[in-house]
Every structure is written in C-alpha cells, then in structure tokens.
Subunit: 192 residues, 2 copies
DNA sequence: TATTTTTTGAAGTGATTGTTTCAGAATTGG
DNA sequence: CCAATTCTGAAACAATCACTTCAAAAAATA
C-alpha cells in the first residue's frame, strides 16, 4: 500500500462551498477553489474529480446540512402550530444572516435550467421541505390547531415561495426590519 | 462626416439580453454576445463599451420594458381591486412563460452582492413595483374595496416576495398548475 | 467625384480558464 | 529497511477569456 490522503475531504468541500456560494458556479475559478481548499490541483483531480463533481458535492453538502438542522429544530417545539411559527421566524433569521442569500435558490437561478443533475438535487431538497411543512400542517389540523379545510400541500408551497422572496428583498435592501415584518405577517396569514 | 453605424443598437441590446438571461453574466462570453448581436467585437467596443456596460444596458432595458408593460396593463382595469387581482394573475402567466426565470431576480442573486451599480438598478426597479402596488392598495382602501387598517407598504412587499418564489418553484418543477394555484391562493389572501 | 471621417473585419493581445503531466516526496506493508 | 504504491507540488497544456490593433472598406460632406 502507498501513501494515504492527508487532507480532510469534508473540510475541503465546506471551503469550496463558501467560494461557490459567494461567487457562483461560473464566477468561481478552479484557482479560487483550490486556494480556499488549500490543496494542489493534482490532488483535487485525483480525489474529488472535476469542477462540476465538486459542485455537486457542495450542493449535496448544503442541502444535507439544512435538512439535519430542520429536523433538529422541529423536535424542540411542543405543538405543530408552534413548530410552524418557529420555522417561519427561523427562516427570517437565516435570511438576515446569510450575506449572499440562500445557496440553493442562487443555484436554482444560475445553473438549474441547463444542469439536470443539479436541478434534480434542488428539486429533491425542495420536495423534502414541502413534505416537512405539509406534515406539520396536517398534524396541526388533526390536533384542531388549524382549520379543517386547510390544503396542506398548497399552504406548504405558499410558505416556501414566500420566503424565497425574502432572500431577494434582503439582497437588494439589506433591511432586517422589513424581513422580520414580512415574517410576522406571513405567520399571521398562515396561522390566522 | 464619415460612415454611420449600420446596426441597430437597441436591437443588439435585446439580443444580448437574451444571452445574459439564459447564461447569466459570468456564463455569457463575449463571443456568445457578439455572435447573437451579429456585430464584430471592434464595433462592439467602439459603440457599446465593454461587457459590463452592455450588461448595465440590458438590465436597464429589461426593467424599463417591464415598467412600461406594468403601466399599460394597469390602465385597463376599472377598479384598484381588480387591477391588483389582474396583476397577480399576470405575474403568474409571466412566470409560467419565462423559461429561465425573471432576469432581475436571477441577476439579483448572481451579481448584485458584489456589483453596486447593478444592485442600485435592481433596487430602483423593486422600489417602483412596490410604489405601484402600494398606491393601488391605498386606492382600494380609499374606495372601500379593502379594509381600512391595511398596511399598504407591507402588503406590497408581501406580494413581491411571494411571486419571487414562484419563479424558483417553476424553475425546479415546471408545473403551471402549481403556479396558478399559488396565484389564486395569494389573490384570495391579499384581497380576502 | 474627391476627401474626410468613421466603421468594420480579421487577426492578435496577454491573461486566465479547466485540466494534465510527471518526477520526487511520502507512507505504507512485507 | 526495502520495495511497492500513492500522493503531492510545480510546471505546462490547449482553449478560451475580455479586449485591442490596424489596415481597408464604406459612407457622408463638399
């Protein structure tokens, strides 16, 4: 047996994600990426493949991390209605925090129309969030916290499409108050 | 006097806009652009400036065109409430039609954090839409078509942020029914 | 039509793109 | 400690990037 790889692959992907997040897929050069990952390009091509494969790994890493976070948070609430309200305000906090917007949304607009591999990953991530929300909504209905005639799927899509817009508004105006107001308004609308 | 420019500058900008719209700022090469515009690169640099100046012109062209269309449509309705409802369904139709999403939103995510010139243009466009909507809402309130306590600014931001998300959903799922359902739901929520 | 002015086409600029090559350093199992 | 194997660093790859140069073609004025 020969020498083993010295650098942490997961750590490298996180560094690369930062670069892609900031500069986008086309805006990030391989030099930007290898500089951030602190590995030589030969090591990169030997282990992680090429630029596109790295990007796929970054998208997977990002969506997986969000998924885990989502499930962790959900467990801390003691009613589905409270979980929904918590979700909406959590999203607002993330929108305000992320300087370059949501990596998934950014990627959806930049590469997804022409890159079916990436599109499939983002679609899957989107479906997960929708299922997560619609399940929560159905539980709330079952427990009498929300009206019986509520369309869970529709309301889930509604919530998702609403907060997507918050990212754009924050990118342009950088006004945290505006985002928080919108979140409060959305919570009121959804939970009436 | 010498020779005059033979190509139509406005037409060239429209062609360039198509390329930027499809490939993004970083994804579009100068070859892509001059090929689409059907002019030589020397003619391009002599008249339109460089890549970034062309992009600025494209953003201006796009936002201006939308602005004109918005004002035209608004005149065809006979009540502010009907105009609001019409606006929401018009947006849904555009979302379904545009293969690569809204150029302004796409650009907001791709370049606006690092390009203050572009950010300012998009912010201005966004402000125009908000003013347009909030004016409409205030008129509706004045005419007794909407509740007195309505926060016009907030509701305008709410509508904008909601339909931004429709673009992303349509990019990923390409499901017109879903978009129309969301539009109908949003109209119901806003106009209750 | 002659002259002046400007545009145009083709080729070429250096820099950067993503990717490869390969010799030598490093680390493993025997 | 040796030999086999694998990783690493630096240099180089062709292709493409945004952009320039310049002579010749074209058109406007006189």
């Amino acid at each position: 047996m020969g020498r083993t790889v010295t650098f942490d692959q997961n750590e490298a992907i996180e560094k690369a994600l930062d670069v892609f997040w900031k500069k986008g897929y086309n805006g990030a050069s391989l030099r930007d990426l290898t500089d951030a990952m602190k590995i030589n390009s030969s090591s990169f091509y030997n282990t992680l493949g090429d630029k596109h494969q790295l990007f796929v790994q970054c998208v997977k890493h990002y969506t997986h991390k969000r998924r885990v976070l989502l499930e962790q948070r959900a467990g801390t609430y003691d009613s589905p209605r409270a979980a929904l309200e918590g979700f909406i305000h959590d999203v607002a906090a993330v929108v305000i925090k992320d300087a370059h917007g949501c990596f998934a949304i950014k990627t959806a607009f930049e590469v997804s129309p022409d890159d079916k591999r990436i599109q499939a990953l983002l679609k899957e991530d989107n479906n997960f969030t929708r299922t997560f929300l619609s399940t929560l909504i159905r539980s709330a209905v079952d427990q009498g916290e929300m009206a019986d005639e509520t369309d869970a799927e529709l309301l889930a899509d509604y919530i998702i499409s609403t907060y997507t817009g918050w990212y754009e508004l924050h990118l342009l105006h950088q006004d945290p108050v505006k985002i928080n107001k919108l979140a409060a308004f959305t919570a009121r609308q959804v939970l009436h």
